[in-house]
């Protein structure tokens, strides 16, 4: 009994110090002087633009990585394509690699003298310090989540249902739509939630490629940093609260998805 109580006290204490205290402090500081300063801070034009930009990037990245994730998982599990084992390992790279390195790599690739950047700039396409590079960076860092959620579920359900559908006359597309997709839908939803959370919170890679120009190429995370550095503490706290609320919404969605998964 004492051992169990001890473990509980330790884990709760750990969570309180590591998680609850910092996040709580952000909320407390943001609303320290009431709702008005908070509201003023987040209705600031640059803050609104940063929020919009973050949501825009997420809206592009999530569908992209969802489609890629499902296709990639199918290729890894269902098709005996040579080299898929290597792809399977490569998918985890964004989890292992620091986002700063990703940002730097993109900077070198799409910069004025980079392999792609030189050609693209020659054709009038601005990637760096603009939306395309920020989308690229965010896509890179949030790539593994859908693949990682879907692969084990595809392995578990096996091929028999798909083969059964084929013998019943279903085309590959019909089989995917009517058999495979419903079977992996909770794994996909879970992957989408994780991808969204990662995209909204991305800072390291994007801060290198975006340039962080206020009102133009500044995401919400960058806005927090910029405000803090400019001694606009209320602004920094308010934007942080906004990020925290996006995260909490994502967590709530995740709980709903988990519940659906269990009931199916």
């Amino acid at each position: 009994m004492t051992a169990r109580r001890g473990i509980r006290a330790f884990s709760l204490g750990y969570l309180a110090i590591i998680l609850v205290a910092p996040v709580g402090l952000i909320f407390w500081r943001a609303f320290e002087h009431g709702i008005h300063p908070f509201w003023a801070a987040i209705s600031n034009a640059n803050a609104v633009h940063a929020l919009k930009l973050t949501l825009e990037i997420t809206a592009v990245v999530v569908p992209l990585n969802t489609a890629f994730g499902i296709l990639c998982a199918l290729a890894i599990v269902r098709h005996r394509i040579p080299g898929m084992g290597f792809v399977n390992a490569l998918v985890d790279l964004p989890l292992a690699l620091s986002p700063v390195v990703v940002g730097l790599a993109l900077y070198l690739l799409y910069g004025r003298d980079g392999w792609f950047g030189h050609w693209l700039l020659g054709h009038g396409v601005q990637v760096l310090f603009a939306l395309p590079s920020m989308v690229l960076a965010t896509t890179f860092v949030s790539l593994p989540f859908v693949v990682r959620e879907v692969v084990p579920v595809l392995r578990e359900i096996g091929t028999q249902q798909e083969e059964a559908a084929a013998t019943l006359g279903a085309s590959a597309l019909t089989t995917f739509r009517r058999i495979t997709l419903p079977a992996i839908r909770w794994a996909v939803s879970y992957g989408v939630v994780l991808t969204t959370a990662r995209s909204v919170g991305e800072f390291g890679a994007v801060s290198i490629v975006s340039g962080g120009i206020a009102g133009r190429t500044q995401t919400l995370t960058q806005y927090v940093q910029a405000s803090y550095e400019n001694f606009d503490q209320t602004g920094a706290y308010a934007a942080s609260v906004l990020l925290a609320m996006l995260a909490i919404t994502t967590l709530l969605l995740m709980t709903v998805v988990r519940r659906g998964d269990r009931s199916s």
Binding site: Q161, E163, A164, A165, A166, T167, L168, A170, R178, S264
Partner: protein, 331 residues
């Protein structure tokens, strides 16, 4: 729908699953593919369904070359070993699947599914999910689903393998009746010789990727083509060069000149059948099958000394080919 496989070879890596296999299945017949696990019987079924492509050889369906035809276009119904139910669909939707993807009119689908639910005795269970069915019910659902689009060929992979003995027996009889009513060409895979002999009107015995014998059940049992078939389709005693079925050994209390002495070791009574294990005076062990009546007349008890003689013996030459049945010890 007549099926023919010609010189089919299939490898999985180093494993030779099918080694130059040729079989031909008559339209409307009920054929059993019998063999131990790893004998290639399931692979052959999957090649016929189009779920595997042979490395070498051809498959003909109704006389037409169909080796490369996709499974979707073969008009087969396939029942998988573990039934492969669509777990997220109700029983009704499972059965309707083949028809709904063919965009058949709603009324037709409704009528057909109702009819099939009746046929497989699952009336009233249409709204359930496969996980809410028993093994036997799931099996019948899989059959109904395979039959929905009126296939000309029904393929069943170990259809009764995962069911308990009583349900197996019921389903076997039910499959026989179904085949009599529908006359759809049916091929089923089994490792159970009794099942093959009871259900099929023609049996293909397979071993290590090869066909050992193709014959109707009775011929298979009475005239096995080689020692493998002899020992696989039923219990057998090996006495020197001769092979004898346990029911082809006679036990008497009196020596009869040509009978040999043996001691009763064990007696197992299985209802109508009585199994007697004996040790002959030359040390050979014998398994004998008697009917209950025969056993009662003999009044056997363990350690009794009795006399045995064989009624029918079979011998095979060094190539495994049957030599003429040796005249039994007593003619």
């Amino acid at each position: 729908m007549a099926i023919e496989a010609r010189n089919v070879t299939k490898r999985f890596g180093d494993f030779l699953a099918l080694d130059d296999v040729s079989i031909s299945v008559e339209s409307g017949s009920l054929t059993g593919l019998l063999g131990p696990s790893g004998s290639g019987k399931s692979t052959l079924l999957r090649v016929i369904a189009g779920l595997e492509t042979p490395d070498v050889g051809e498959v003909f369906i109704s006389g037409k070359e169909a080796t490369a035809v996709a499974p979707q276009k073969r008009g087969v119904g396939f029942v998988f070993q573990h039934y492969a139910p669509f777990t997220h669909m109700t029983v009704w939707d499972n059965i309707a699947f083949g028809l709904s993807i063919r965009r058949r009119p709603k009324e037709e689908i409704h009528a057909r599914v109702t009819e099939l639910l009746e046929l497989v005795q699952l009336n009233g269970l249409g709204k359930r999910y496969p996980s809410q069915l028993s093994g036997g019910q799931r099996q019948r659902m899989a059959l109904a689903r395979a039959l929905a689009a009126e296939p000309e060929l029904l393929l069943l992979d170990e259809p009764f393998g995962a069911l308990d003995a009583r349900v197996r027996k019921e389903l076997r009889e039910w499959l026989l009746r179904l085949h009599d009513e529908m006359h759809v060409t049916t091929i089923f895979v089994t490792h159970d010789q009794e099942e093959a002999l009871e259900v099929a009107d023609n049996v293909v015995v397979m071993n290590a990727g090869r066909v050992e014998q193709v014959a109707p059940p009775r011929e298979l049992y009475d005239e096995p083509a080689n020692p493998f078939v002899m020992s696989f389709v039923g219990p057998v005693n090996r006495l020197g060069e001769a092979w004898v079925r346990p029911h082809d050994i006679e036990i008497t209390h009196e020596p009869n000149g040509v009978a040999q002495e043996a001691q009763v070791e064990r007696i197992v009574r299985l209802g109508f059948e009585v199994r007697v294990d004996l040790v002959r005076d030359d040390g050979e062990r014998l398994h004998v099958q008697l009917t209950r009546n025969e056993a009662e007349v003999l009044e056997l008890a363990p350690s009794d000394i009795v006399y045995v003689r064989t009624r029918v013996e079979r011998t095979f030459n060094e190539n495994g080919e049957p030599t003429r049945p040796a005249p039994s010890s007593v003619s």
